[in-house]
């Protein structure tokens, strides 16, 4: 079966996951995001590329940053953006996901940006559209369950490339709750595809997936050991709700072992950058001195996220 993300010519038609996406497609997205990033510095932060197109934000799970940056990206491309408040919509009245999609396509939707608690929901929508011949309608996965968050992975890759230029030769550490993190999964797939020689995951046994080493990464349970010689440190949010599941003793205990402090960061390379997908739990996975420090590129990540989403949407919306 063909990769449902690609059309017959290998062009990107949906963005569902970075897993299995060819390196040249990823590089083209990153390259295309560069001129879009420069648009943010203009007085008129808008180009007419998607004028007349309708982008529907379908968020079945709450999100502020991702939904807002998708909305800004679509608006800077001159598309019309419709935000659906799913919690108060017909899903609660029993409508199925695909019926909701069909109704929105009947309203001439051109693109869906989908966040869903269930892994595979965006894939289901994309294959439904492909199967029913509506290939002019595109799907962007904005995070599905524990599966993938490809635009976050891409903006992480864009940020790393911006500061470090080349992936070959880099040591990148992903620290924290990898088990529940679709951000980590997408980033690791992207890093591997682009030829990053050393990807490490650092975290307690209970927060690392059983098959994590099958993703081609090196596993560390000792954070100090894992940070040694790193060029890039990606901190993950410790999802507070995990604390209840007896996976961890306490936030204080977690910070002691896996919180990024200036003292632990000193073990990484002197020019190492610190990233975090947000929202941050200060004092849980990251010390404020690091989050606000000169090696933090956490806010540039947010800015770059808009450019990367503009690149993805404009590539999908072509013929």
């Amino acid at each position: 079966m063909r990769n449902p993300q690609l059309d017959a010519n290998g062009g990107l038609t949906h963005l569902l996951t970075l897993e299995g996406l060819p390196a040249e497609v990823i590089v083209r997205i990153l390259d295309t995001a560069v001129p879009f990033a420069s648009i943010a510095e203009r007085d008129v932060k808008k180009v007419p590329l998607l004028r007349g197109r309708s982008v529907f934000n379908l968020f079945f799970e709450s999100s502020t940053r991702t939904r807002t940056t998708f909305e800004i990206a679509a608006k800077r491309l001159s598309a019309d953006v419709i935000n659906l408040n799913i919690g108060a919509s017909s899903t609660n009245k029993g409508e199925t996901l695909l019926d909701t999609v069909d109704n929105l396509v009947a309203m001439n939707a051109d693109m869906f940006v989908v966040r869903h608690g269930q892994s595979g929901a965006p894939h289901l929508i994309a294959t439904h559209l492909n199967r029913t011949g509506r290939t002019h309608v595109h799907v962007v996965n904005a995070g599905d369950g524990r599966h993938a968050h490809p635009t976050q992975g891409l903006l992480d890759l864009f940020t790393i490339r911006h500061y470090k230029r080349d992936f070959r030769g880099l040591t990148v550490a992903v620290v924290g709750d990898v088990l529940h993190s679709r951000v980590a999964r997408s980033l690791i797939h992207g890093l591997t595809t682009l030829g990053t020689p050393e990807v490490r995951v650092i975290g307690p046994q209970t927060l690392l997936p059983a098959a994590v080493s099958a993703m081609g990464v090196h596993v560390y349970h000792d954070m100090r050991e894992g940070l040694m010689g790193c060029d890039v440190v990606v901190m993950l949010r410790l999802q507070n709700e995990r604390m209840k599941g007896a996976l961890l003793p306490s936030a204080g205990e977690y910070f002691k072992h896996y919180g990024l402090t200036p003292e632990k960061l000193a073990l990484a390379k002197a020019d190492a950058i610190v990233m975090h997908p947000g929202p941050m739990n200060r004092g849980v996975e990251i010390d404020s001195a690091v989050a606000d420090g000169e090696r933090s590129v956490i806010l540039p990540q947010v800015t770059f996220g808009i450019a990367v989403r503009m690149a993805v949407m404009s590539m999908l919306a072509g013929p």
């Binding site: 295309t32 001129p35 420069s38 404009s314 590539m315 072509g318 013929p319």
Partner: protein, 170 residues
């Protein structure tokens, strides 16, 4: 068909612009051929002529048909567009669609006092009411052919005729 020599045509274009172009006109080259010519003209024509660059990919009218080309470059205008005299520079003027897109993009940076257009080659075939202010040479070229400008390692310009790959674009 015999093509004019690119360097001689550039000299002829500069000759026509000398004395006619405002002393403080800003030169804006349309990527990629127009950018090379804008850089050369800025050195050949007396006055203070800062050079900017425009990539019209985000403003083209054929996006729905052809999509976004790879390797879009950053538009870079290192001066105030508001109130400026701008000379838009392109290598080959054909349909006028790139010039239309470039003018639209310029206006997103401000309201110029005046925009002029300088082209190395005018090959006719306009689909929009666009006329160059300064022209290096005029050339009649069949519709299925493309006139392409190239630049070698030493910066020397050359013209060539190629079989058109897709539709019309310049």
């Amino acid at each position: 068909m015999t093509l004019p020599d690119a360097e001689l045509t550039l000299t002829a274009l500069a000759e026509r612009m000398r004395g006619a172009v405002a002393f403080d006109a800003k030169f804006v080259g349309i990527y990629s051929g127009g950018a090379w010519i804008a850089e050369r003209l800025a050195r050949m024509i007396p006055g203070e002529h800062p050079v900017g660059y425009i990539d019209v990919s985000f403003y083209r009218d054929d996006f729905a048909r052809t999509g976004l080309k790879p390797a879009v470059k950053c538009t870079d205008l290192p001066f105030q567009v508001e109130g400026a005299t701008i000379v838009l520079v392109d290598d080959v003027l054909y349909t006028g669609r790139s010039v239309r897109a470039a003018i639209n993009e310029l206006f997103d940076f401000g309201r110029p006092a005046c925009i002029e257009l300088a082209v190395l080659i005018d090959r006719g075939g306009r689909e929009l009411p666009v006329e160059p202010t300064y022209t290096g040479a005029r050339l009649a070229v069949a519709r299925d052919l493309t006139v392409a400008l190239s630049r070698d390692a030493d910066g020397a310009l050359a013209l060539a005729i190629e079989r058109a790959a897709g539709g019309r674009d310049a």
